[in-house]
Subunit: 489 residues, 2 copies
Amino acid sequence: MSENGALPRRGKVLTVDTMNVNVKKVDYAVRGPIVQRAVQIEKELKEGVKKPFEEVIKANIGDAHAMGQQPITFFRQVMALCTYPLLLDDNKFPEDAKNRARRILQSCGGNSIGAYTTSQGIDCVRHDVANYIQRRDVGILSDPDNIYLTTGASDGIVTILKLLTAGEGRTRTGVMISIPQYPLYSASIAELGAVQVNYYLNEEKCWSLDISELQRSLQAAREHCNPSVLCIINPGNPTGQVQSRQCIEDVIQFAAKENLFLMADEVYQDNVYAEGCEFHSFKKVLFEMGPEYSSKVELASFHSTSKCYMGECGFRGGYMEVINMDPEVKAQLTKLVSVRLCPPAPGQALMDLVVNSPQPGEPSHQTFMKERTDILSALAEKAKLTEQILNTVPGISCNPVQGAMYSFPRITLPERAINEAKAKGQAPDMFYCMKLLEETGICLVPGSGFGQREGTYHFRMTILPPTDKLMILLNKLKEFHQKFTQQYS
Amino acid sequence: MSENGALPRRGKVLTVDTMNVNVKKVDYAVRGPIVQRAVQIEKELKEGVKKPFEEVIKANIGDAHAMGQQPITFFRQVMALCTYPLLLDDNKFPEDAKNRARRILQSCGGNSIGAYTTSQGIDCVRHDVANYIQRRDVGILSDPDNIYLTTGASDGIVTILKLLTAGEGRTRTGVMISIPQYPLYSASIAELGAVQVNYYLNEEKCWSLDISELQRSLQAAREHCNPSVLCIINPGNPTGQVQSRQCIEDVIQFAAKENLFLMADEVYQDNVYAEGCEFHSFKKVLFEMGPEYSSKVELASFHSTSKCYMGECGFRGGYMEVINMDPEVKAQLTKLVSVRLCPPAPGQALMDLVVNSPQPGEPSHQTFMKERTDILSALAEKAKLTEQILNTVPGISCNPVQGAMYSFPRITLPERAINEAKAKGQAPDMFYCMKLLEETGICLVPGSGFGQREGTYHFRMTILPPTDKLMILLNKLKEFHQKFTQQYS
Ligand SMILES: Cc1ncc(COP(=O)(O)O)c(C=O)c1O
Ligand SMILES: Cc1ncc(COP(=O)(O)O)c(C=O)c1O
């Protein structure tokens, strides 16, 4: 500062030197340099630039519709009816779709999906969510007052992390996240200035979660911060594992013992493919462990319209359920979400359809079930295919894709490639993925974007491309990996 | 902390004592206690509880559809087509609506509005926004790269404030906001831990903005923080004023001289009613002031689908244009918005329609123009009506509602009422509004929720109710005010 207390005049007010330092620390690999280069290459291809491939195949992001998956007819019918209610007189639309639309509109201000909703979300939608959870977690109650609708799961996750972030220095909130992780977590933790606390998933045991590793991580974190939050993604992104009931029980026990707030990211709850695997919600397991746990452990769980069989990412629908949250904190949460007025009403309506889909006997039931089953079976098939083909490549080893939408294979990189990457200041798997993109048009995300054990290298690949494209992708990848290994050996 | 460095075990992890202190400081009046009580009363009425009125009339929030305003037909037609593209074969829909829908879908991944969009927003929408701005600000270029689509204007405003918040203690970012203000500003400033710097609008001069007051406020703030941002709402919420071109020029000059980043909240740009008033965008005035200013002053301006004639709040559409933003900061901004993936695609599509509405010669043009004009003329009439009737009440004085959707009249409260309120720990105008609600069912927001000069009292009332309801409201209010004054005199 200058003599009189005024700041010195600069060319610009807002520069990288004056801006929010936490924002600068944010990293977001899923939409990072690889994806930016892919977009550029697509433009170049359009402009007629010659490349050794004809199209970019994007397997970098869990965006089903972008990969050609068709929306669920019933969902879109109801959404069209909500948007343009004159269609309620059109006999092209089935009665069950009309009933859903009428019910949603009656719950909207002025019967319009264009009105602000209450900040916590449309009443009838929150009731339907609670009913869905009760059906899913047979025998366990759910209270609509504990449901908050959100702008995608992302919004809910950031909001809960925001509530939890407090303290300074050694008392600053530490947030335990799995490594590899979905980078929303590290990004939000950085933005909020919380402390990221890593625990490693066990690649050797199919990316499972070891309590001893949680214990190690917690112990280490207590030396320098206040670790009070434990985040779990199940089924896992980027790792595709599905946790066993026993593991979930152990995690809950651990959280209870160590006084941790649990965040369960369950956006892939319908995406379970492997035999012997099943989705168990944290809520259900918690309540089945008896009142000692169910009356005590604080839990927020998250769901979304973006994944599962519907893949409606663009609508930004989602919900969270909060369990055992202090009522005063809940009031603060309600206040906080009211500042941005409300989540998008169409996303709320879509969330309603997901939790209140056509029932047996309703006119749309058969078509709905067929569409849903077809999508989920195709994903199961592609999960298997991906694992099998990748494992035929020397230098690539891939755990079973038990659930979610991703494989996260480990790749062996020649020493010379690692050195060349380091010389360029690049993570070795970034170097690998960038070369893959330039030579084949395949767009993946390097493992370094998600975190991995020091000295190991991975990439994340979605299983979403249509089977024929996926086959092309996997074969090109195989060929590339062999060439790359040769070239750098 | 206990001996071994571990924190003492508590009943709950997350309590009001352990939570984020900035969140606790957030205040949000528009959805505060009055509104919560109004919702309660509505429930009581439904349950048959006897009240001195039959319905709650909500004039607390700028939510046009909730007050019965009908959506623009063309907008909803295109949205239905985007949602359920099978309707593109339906001859009930006009060709221009179909063309718009096709164009938007072609810009979406997999031609689906259910795909994630790029984080900055759909390409063609950003181009259309830039074209709109160029038409609006005749002769001044707009670059689609400077356009970011947002989840309502709220999201854009919070994002820019987040970028700008830095420093500690005396170097902490100060954000200058008008008093009275739209409480999103004070709430976000509190949440981010920035410093709120108040400048007062001049009620005596129709809520205009005096540069000398800006100067005073800035000077005072420099004693304790680093005021580097100046926020303007034009047309004003809650005050309904429309700034003159001269005033905007003076503000820009001030910002240039004092090195302030300008944030222009222009969500009410089509809501100008008073004769002699006109909307001037900050961007246009900035560029008309010549390169000395236009190459230098940093500006972010905000627009929304929620206001104007469309009132599509539920879709959460919006955009911001950033001018003279440091390219490195822009890269940071793009990274930051990518963490939450993208704004809702339906909101983006709707924003596109607002900036690319039916043109002369297109089949929907006439209907569109009629609907638009009818809505805006009705608002203009209600603005006048509100001012006139309120000014007939002794003890209420109301500035002209030149624009936006609100009147913010000053009320004289008897000493005895003020004392009774204070004894209850309530702001006197909160006391007044709560009594009004209980006795008449009218739901307004007390001036204290927006800020006002010490010792003055106001309420904010929207002009959105249909004319007949507005008349009832105004007459009941008149009667109540007289009774209240008598009772406490
Ligand atoms: C594990 C996980 N959580 C949350 C999200 C956020 O999804 P959305 O915000 O679209 O609901 C994703 C998206 O890929 C995810 O993979
Ligand atoms: C001045 C002002 N800015 C911003 C907003 C936010 O609107 P939205 O987020 O719905 O676009 C409002 C809403 O009332 C407003 O009055």
